[in-house]
Point group: C2
């Protein structure tokens, strides 16, 4: 199964995302999304959820975008490492 993840931003006003597994939390200044390629933090002001669809893994956010940041799960790697 293909695990696509795309981000399309138009004019710092809208973002459309694919490959979104979950919206972990959000408020008007920050969204935390679980994507197929890691956690993504979107920061801005006046942010609103336009839509979110778990079946198609799509989400859209509206507002004034100031940054996107992938939160690397460096701790996750060590947790899932097994000693044999």
């Amino acid at each position: 199964m293909k695990q696509e993840h795309t981000v399309k931003m138009d004019g710092r006003k809208t973002i459309e995302l694919t490959g979104v597994q979950q919206v972990e939390r959000f408020d008007s200044s920050e969204f935390l999304l679980q994507t197929v390629m890691g956690k993504l933090k979107v920061k801005g002001s006046g942010l609103k959820m336009k839509h979110f669809d778990t079946v198609n893994k799509k989400a859209a956010i509206e507002g004034r975008i100031s940054s996107f940041l992938y939160v690397e799960s460096s701790t996750g790697m060590s947790l899932f490492r097994r000693s044999k």
Copy 2:
């Protein structure tokens, strides 16, 4: 004249941008772009310039993307503020 600015990212591997006026500097871990909607910093690793076209204001970057950040010109506002 329309001042469009769009960002399209595919799988954290490629970014295509419109509304890019200038590439101010770049290396393998950071690009600084002047766009029609402010300065944009793109961070990651193994970043490469795929293309840049001043006429159409388009740019494309390849590599492992970790973040995008619009650098707000807050100092600019106070500098241009006039006392009457």
